[in-house]
Symmetry: C2
Subunit: 330 residues, 2 copies
Amino acid sequence: MATIKDVAAHAGVSFKTVSRVINRHPHVTDAVRQKVLRAIEDLDYRPNIVARNMRTRKTEYIGLITDQIMTTPFSGAIIKGAQEAAWTSGIMLLTVNTDGQPELEAAAVNMLLERQVAGIAYATMFHKAVAPPAKLTDAPCILVDCFSASGELPAIVPDEMQGGYDATRHLLSRGHRRIAMINGKRGYPGTEGRLNGYRKALESADLAYDEALVRFGDWWQEDGYHHACCLMKLPDPPTAICCGNDRIAMGVFAAVHELGAAIPDDVAVIGFDNMEVIAAHLRPGLTTMALPYYEMGQRAIEYLTGDRCDDLQNGRRIELPCLLIQREST
Amino acid sequence: MATIKDVAAHAGVSFKTVSRVINRHPHVTDAVRQKVLRAIEDLDYRPNIVARNMRTRKTEYIGLITDQIMTTPFSGAIIKGAQEAAWTSGIMLLTVNTDGQPELEAAAVNMLLERQVAGIAYATMFHKAVAPPAKLTDAPCILVDCFSASGELPAIVPDEMQGGYDATRHLLSRGHRRIAMINGKRGYPGTEGRLNGYRKALESADLAYDEALVRFGDWWQEDGYHHACCLMKLPDPPTAICCGNDRIAMGVFAAVHELGAAIPDDVAVIGFDNMEVIAAHLRPGLTTMALPYYEMGQRAIEYLTGDRCDDLQNGRRIELPCLLIQREST
DNA sequence: TTGTAGGCGTTATCAG
DNA sequence: CTGATAACGCCTACAA
């Protein structure tokens, strides 16, 4: 493997000049530059980034610690967003999947720190409170799709409230006045935020909040099916159902079909997540709120590289909006 | 940030001794070791891996170049398998997603090479022939879920033939004698390999190959729906359908239900991919062949680290078996 | 515009 | 078993 000195010798200049050419230093004669570039070509020279990092005492690595994101069909977009933002800044991502095991997480943080990463992003597959390893703060860091219980770490999360609000407003705008909600499990930021948004939207339309129309389940198809059956058999059934996620919506579809009703004519359905395999392939296509996974990943890297001057001092968090994806179910 | 010298001073030993302790060198007195460990603790010292890599002229990085794996719901397991195998060996993965753009791929290879990676795995979201950047071979490398057209690069791929064979044998073992196949697009290794397996299985049961029962589509739900409708209306319809993937099977389910037939009683259905969102949530659950994504990722890293002495000289490739996941549709 | 000396934090070599 | 010295490939400072 050729080094900078080999190139210098080959080009008949000092190695410092080669260094300047490599790093696009302005003050180099064009003639010399050409000579050097030629030598680089000839020797198939590649700068040794390890040596550079050693000398400059910094790297172009950013660590990305994830729980089970790798295998989930939706939140994987966090990685992609991070990936592409990193690429744009000439940064490489060191990804570690920990399955949420605390010892593994601590070990991962340690490995990243030893490798002198410029920052660490800690991401979870769904929006929740977390207690990341203490050493995380030894590097610039940011939480993605999660937040520290104590709230002192910078975080990027989805704006669940806005999501629930916009979903409900969308149904309202379609003329619905009796709108049910089949939500996820209580206590989750997603569940509670979307519920609040739903309530706010109803309020904005001067509609009363009807407890009978609001159900909570466990995010699964079965829950959607079950609750939809109950709701549709109500004396005054809803004309629209806002679901906590697309799986729930999938169950709602099954229930509605089974009862011989039609979507969206008899009952409109909206989901959350925009899981392509579900939403785009149900018949009719499922209108749903897309969570800003890609954007969260992207923004996290931009924050760590300083490409974007986000003010995240003392517990401020960035809330990124959910986006309405309109298909045929509403 | 404390260095090895700070630790040495604090412990009252030479920095070389500290180095020995860190690297678990055998010839160190226990007393000295304790002193050093204490100093490390006191100073919150962390070895600088960049400096180590510089000196030893090698790193514990392996590059993982993917096309669009990050966002696909199934092949993401390649990354997970690679991830976990890497972790086991104390290796960190440098992941780059290129969306299959050749210039990006070449740039990625270059970045990885500059960073002195110990090896590069090049993975695709589905099994196909590829032409990776020429420089890829400047490092130890392996293709995952793909192979070089010329066939000279080491590769790990699914055993499509065995997959098709086992899927068909499974249907045969259930008593079916009239088995249809709704396959993917012609020319793909998956399509052709599974077709061959299907034929071989029929042969093994002394059944004639009936062209009327074999259809090709484009891997989508719609194709499954369409072809299933045709097949079921045949004068002598199949009692079982082997599908090129789970999406196709999903379409088959829709068609069968629409025609008032029952799965698996009137017609058995088997898929390919084991896409959790589809296979586990269809009713009845979809029996399917799981592709060895996780294992391919894992094996790729094991190959690159030498943890496993695979013989991949001159174009030999590893073919990993597909696994039958039995649910209720057969 | 170009070149020289020195050092980044480690590990390898070789003495003690 | 322990320690001094050199080197890894590059960049920063300063000098020419």
